[in-house]
């Protein structure tokens, strides 16, 4: 449940990547490699495949930093969406080579998409709700203790936990409005196909 970096950090990072600063690439990796690797692993359930996705995603960001639009959310959520989409793409590709049945694959894709939506919801929900969930879920604080910690009433603490979970539960709804579109441009369904196919080979 890592909170996204401040928007200013995101914009600055984007500028530095666009400028071709190797040091910025290292910082980006240090901040997000775990996220990317974990997400990829969640979809593909394989270390090597997750390594490959990590290479592809960072390679894509380094080559296309301008594709990130701060108006559409945090850099973190953009990276998460890129990863998700690339991992699902690879999963389908592996499946078409006969490693598992189509039904199994689609079930895993659905599960992975739900998990990704949940992740997105948690990171973009109002901070008071996220903080309450964090205390209850991660710190295992009773809702009264969480209330003390948050400096709110017990009623408010209960309200936040319920509301936070209600928001989170929408991740399980059939994905229409919540479908994550990593890149908002063009008609391409796959971000790695979205731009300049003639310019560079696919990652």
């Amino acid at each position: 449940m890592a909170t996204p970096a401040p928007p200013r950090w995101d914009r600055k990072m984007q500028q530095r990547l666009a400028r071709g600063e190797e040091a910025a690439l290292g910082e980006l990796y240090d901040r997000y490699a775990t996220l990317v690797h974990n997400l990829a692993h969640r979809v593909l359930d394989d270390d090597e495949a997750a390594d490959l996705i990590t290479r592809e995603v960072f390679g894509y960001i380094w080559e296309n930093p301008d594709d990130y639009d701060p108006k559409h959310g945090s850099l973190r959520s953009w990276i998460a969406a890129l990863t998700q989409s690339q991992a699902v793409h690879r999963l389908r590709q592996y499946a078409s080579r006969g490693r598992s049945t189509a039904t199994e694959v689609e079930a895993r894709v659905r599960q992975a998409n739900t998990a990704a939506r949940a992740d997105f919801i948690v990171t973009s929900m109002p901070a008071p709700l996220r903080d309450a969930l964090e205390l209850a879920y991660r710190e295992r604080l009773d809702y009264r203790a969480a209330a003390t910690d948050l400096g709110v009433s017990a009623d408010e603490s209960r309200r936040r936990l319920r509301l936070g979970l209600q928001l989170l539960s929408t991740a399980m709804d059939p994905a229409d409005s919540l479908e994550i579109r990593p890149l908002e441009r063009g008609t391409a369904t796959h971000p790695f196909d979205a731009r300049g196919q003639g310019r560079r080979s696919r990652p």
Partner: protein, 435 residues
């Protein structure tokens, strides 16, 4: 991905009365997460009648909750963070309120979607592979100088270790060891090790005219790494133990290391020769970065050892740079010991630039190599023709010797030639170590 695996399967829908049935939350009081217990399935009505309610807790003694309160408790109930009485009251309520029962199930499933962001230990070598892959696709316009590469890599490895350890380790004791005529040990904490790294990295910041983190705190610290660190530790202890300061220490250290890397990247190749003043000695920036990388590795290893974590040596390319720096610092260290009357081998006069007696230092293993060291004067020219001794050491052991973690008497080595000279070189290597 070994996270909490709470899956509700097909949903614990009751089959008997058409109403959703929810597994009792209180059955799971010992578990940090609502993991379904196999012996308490929610599905069909239980074949055995429920056990008699103990007399000590008759349901009538439960406080009465109105519908609104019960509803507001659903989130806390789903997370299992309300009192036993409250959970019981909610569960009783769920048997006759379809709306709440439905929401309860939904929220319970939502809890299953929360997951800990785990720091699965990423393969430390992955970083170099990913970054190389990126740079192959699009070369950097502002590259990190090659000589700063080891520092970049080692700081990233230590940072990953600290992240994996989490926040409960900051006060864990760590033994810092070095060699000062005899082995010296200093007991500190993980947090103090990070402070030490930050403050000595600060010397590089001073040289680059980057506002170093210590100066920002209004402290005027000595340059000598040891006295500088002691001064800062004292100041920190005087400022009382600020609880939870560990994460801040890490942020300050990491923030500074990022700034240093960024600054030298922009400064370009010309910055390589800028002098970094360590008080009693100075190093050009390109060597200071390798020195800081070495310290970062050694202290990360100290921390890892203290908390029983595995920690690998640097990549061969980076370790080679560290060994190379130590080899280049050795002639001055030999001369220093000779001046202090500590040397076993007799000195001979040799003019700077002229050939002098030499020692072949051969380092085995990944990152190793061969170095000819001048023995009579740091300025003399070392060569194979004038070699009087040959010593063979393992790379990691040589680094441990240079860090003062292995005593010269205890190191295993192969030798040929003048034994006094070899002994001097081993002791001079240990004398490179400091806090």
């Amino acid at each position: 991905m070994s996270g909490p695996a709470y899956h509700n399967g097909n949903g614990p829908l009751g089959e008997g009365d058409g109403l959703p049935r929810v597994p009792n939350q209180r059955d799971q009081s010992g578990s940090p997460l609502p993991v379904r217990e196999p012996q308490a399935p929610a599905g069909p009505p239980r074949p055995v009648p429920p056990p008699p309610v103990p007399e000590t807790a008759p349901p009538t003694r439960l406080p009465l909750y109105d519908h609104g309160t019960l509803k507001s408790l659903l989130g806390a109930w789903a997370l299992a963070v309300c009192s036993r009485d409250e959970s019981l009251a909610v569960e009783v309520h769920l048997t006759d309120c379809a709306a709440c029962a439905e929401e309860a199930l939904r929220l319970r499933d939502a809890v299953g979607l929360l997951h800990r962001e785990e720091s699965l230990d990423l393969d430390p070598l992955l970083r170099a592979r990913v970054l190389e892959g990126c740079l192959g696709r699009r070369p950097a316009r502002i590259p990190v100088p090659e000589w700063a590469g080891p520092y970049d890599a080692e700081a990233a490895r230590l940072d990953a270790l600290l992240r994996d350890l989490g926040d409960s380790y900051w006060h864990e004791p760590v033994d810092l060891r070095w060699y000062d005529g005899a082995p010296v040990t200093r007991k500190v904490t993980v947090g103090e090790v990070i402070t030490h790294l930050t403050t000595v990295d600060g010397l590089v910041a001073v040289a680059l005219d980057v506002p170093d983190t210590d100066r920002k705190g209004g402290l005027d610290l000595p340059l000598d790494p040891m006295r500088r660190t002691e001064a800062l530790w004292a100041a920190q202890r005087a400022a009382a133990e600020e609880s939870g300061a560990g994460a801040d220490l890490r942020d300050v250290w990491r923030g500074q290391s990022h700034t240093l890397l960024r600054t030298v990247s922009f400064a370009g190749g010309g910055a390589a020769r800028i002098g970094v003043d360590y008080g009693s000695f100075a190093l050009p920036l390109r060597d200071a970065f390798v020195d800081r990388a070495f310290e970062c590795w050694i202290h990360a290893w100290d921390i890892a050892e203290a908390v029983a974590y595995p920690y690998d040596p640097p990549s061969p390319r980076n370790m080679n740079r560290m060994i190379d720096l130590a080899a280049r610092m050795l002639p001055a260290a030999i001369a220093h010991r000779r001046r202090d009357g500590l040397a076993d081998s007799a000195g001979r006069l040799a003019d700077a630039g002229s050939p002098g007696r030499s020692l072949l230092l051969e380092i085995e293993g990944a990152g190793g190599g061969r170095w000819y060291l001048p023995l009579d004067s740091p300025g003399a020219v070392a060569s194979r023709e004038h070699a009087v001794a040959h010593v063979v050491l393992d790379g990691v052991e040589f680094c441990q010797l240079a860090a003062g973690h292995l005593e010269p008497e205890r190191i295993a080595f192969g030798q040929e030639g003048d034994r006094d000279v070899i002994r001097d070189v081993l002791y001079a290597t240990a004398s490179l170590s400091r806090l």
